[in-house]
């Protein structure tokens, strides 16, 4: 099993294995019983009655199932993905620029970059969306993009900094020795290597960005959650369970796929790239890996 098990316990013998099996079955039954009681209670309230879920295949009020799914997937999810598709590249670009500025020899620039990073990392995304909305008078879409961009830019700058710091010192020394300028060293030697080791953290941050785009619901941007609410209001509150299930399912599918991708990338970097950090050494996870939620 997992490494956690082997740290805490000795390899089990036959007796312990039998006990574990019994405990596992008892624990499993307990969990199932709890879920069962919940489901039984929900069924008593009519949550599972077909007409409440019919909105997904045969909706009332002369709407076709296609209309409902289009409003959820094309309009709702489309708006969510559009916000992410605009904000993510912007955040990546600005994050890279900030991280590089943070390594320059000009102290004022370095300090300014650090201040910007610390500032935006320490503020709620929602507050920054309200700032764009109320102080700049921007549209809800622009406000969402602004909030997502400035926050993730700061986090990505931190991820890049950690990635650069994890490279062996010999890399920049060797680059200097063959006469590369600081800019060339970064562009040709350090960043290509660092970006590779950072790829998993960056993809994980994309999940955070995608999740945060749902804050648009609060500032008035019509994304996936809003589409669910609109449908629930139109078809009546009884349909909200079915619509919510679809919405939650969409988030789970998209985000779990991205997380899997991050894990795959992590496996790949470990195999191919020269290990910049000894990943087998015990110690806290690299910074940036746990920054987002």
């Amino acid at each position: 099993m997992s490494r956690a098990t082997s740290v805490l316990y000795d390899a089990p013998g036959p007796l312990a294995r039998r006990r574990e099996r019994i405990g596992s079955v008892v624990g499993g039954l307990l969990v199932l019983a709890l879920v069962g009681v919940g489901a039984w209670y929900a069924a008593g309230r009519g949550v599972f009655e077909a007409d409440r879920w019919a909105v997904l295949w045969d909706p009332p009020k002369n709407q076709s199932a296609l209309d409902v799914w289009r409003s959820l997937l094309v309009v709702g999810l489309g708006a969510t993905l559009r916000a992410a598709a605009v904000a993510a590249p912007l955040a990546l670009l600005l994050g890279l620029v900030l991280a590089v500025l943070r390594t320059t020899r000009l102290a004022p620039v370095r300090v300014a970059a650090s201040v910007v990073i610390e500032l935006f990392r320490g503020l709620p995304v929602l507050l920054m969306m309200f700032f764009a909305l109320l102080a700049f008078g921007w549209s809800a879409f622009a406000a969402v993009i602004f909030g997502l961009t400035v926050y993730n830019m700061a986090v990505i700058a931190e991820i890049v900094r950690a990635g650069l710091a994890a490279l062996p010192k010999g890399q920049s020394e060797a680059a200097a020795a063959i006469g590369l300028s600081r800019g060339q060293t970064l562009r040709l030697v350090l960043l290509p290597q660092a970006l590779r080791t950072m790829a998993p953290s960056l993809v994980a941050q994309l999940v955070v960005l995608l999740k945060d785009s749902s804050l648009g619901f609060i500032v008035g941007y019509s994304e996936l959650l809003k589409a669910i609410q609109n449908n629930a209001q139109y078809f009546g509150n009884a349909s909200v369970v079915a619509l919510f299930t679809v919405g939650a399912g969409i988030y789970l599918v998209v985000n779990i796929s991205l997380s899997r991708l991050a894990l795959r990338l992590q496996g790949r970097t470990r195999r191919t790239a020269a290990p910049a950090v000894d990943v087998t050494a015990p110690g806290p996870a690299p910074r940036g890996a746990t920054t987002g939620h």
Binding site: V7, L8, G27, S213
Partner: protein, 218 residues
């Protein structure tokens, strides 16, 4: 531009800050308790509990916090559970959401302890309880504290989502004050930002410091 707008509305700011702090502390404690339980299940030898804890983690971690609030406010009533809108709903949602990140931090802290440590402890004849309390946990706790502080920082910022669901905390206060003082919106919201930063920046520095200390201790 009138700096007095912040001073004049200080009571409102402080009330908002108190609500944000209260949400952070109460939900943080709740998340700590549930998160520890989930982490214990996750590393337990009982397969079914491991699967349950993993499912719980995977589900909540991949859903936006807004979606969880949405569930509590608009979906749960269909199940016959009508929560009082406002404070307690926010506490519940923030607790559930944060518990997952607490669990993950604790689990990776336990994983960070080298297997050799436990093997050595067993080799010198320590019992399971002894090796847990005097070898594994002291090391695990040290590497868990910095990520745990980061989880709490994220929680402090996440309390702002409650502003969208009828809780008047800092962000909601800022929105209201901004609408009341349209000439000083930038200043009003900068005041709100300041209240967040006095908590998040020092806490972040503390986490960094501790992290460096742990790294050197190894």
């Amino acid at each position: 531009m009138d700096l007095m707008v912040i001073a004049d509305n200080m009571p409102a700011y402080l009330a908002g800050f108190r609500m944000t702090a209260q949400l952070t502390i109460v939900a943080g404690l709740g998340a700590l308790v549930i998160g520890l339980a989930v982490a214990a299940m996750r590393v337990s030898p009982l397969g079914s509990l491991r699967v349950f804890a993993a499912t719980y983690t995977e589900l909540l971690r991949n859903m936006p916090l807004t979606l969880i609030f949405f569930f509590a406010v608009l979906v749960l009533p269909q199940f016959g559970v009508v929560l009082p809108l406002g404070y307690w709903t926010a506490v519940g949602c923030l607790t559930a959401y944060t518990s997952v990140f607490v669990a993950e931090a604790v689990r990776s802290g336990i994983n960070a302890v080298g297997v050799g440590q436990a093997e050595a402890a067993r080799a010198i004849g320590l019992t399971f309880g002894q090796s847990l309390t005097s070898v594994i946990l002291p090391q695990a706790v040290r590497s868990v504290i910095p990520p745990l502080i980061n989880v709490i920082i994220a929680l402090a910022k996440n309390t702002s989502v409650a502003a969208g669901f009828a809780v008047v905390e800092l962000t909601a206060t800022g929105r209201r004050l901004a609408q009341q003082n349209p000439a000083d919106v930038v200043l009003v919201l900068a005041g709100v930002a300041l209240f967040y930063l006095v908590v998040t920046i020092p806490a972040g520095q503390l986490a960094n410091l501790l992290e460096r200390k742990v790294a050197f201790a190894r």
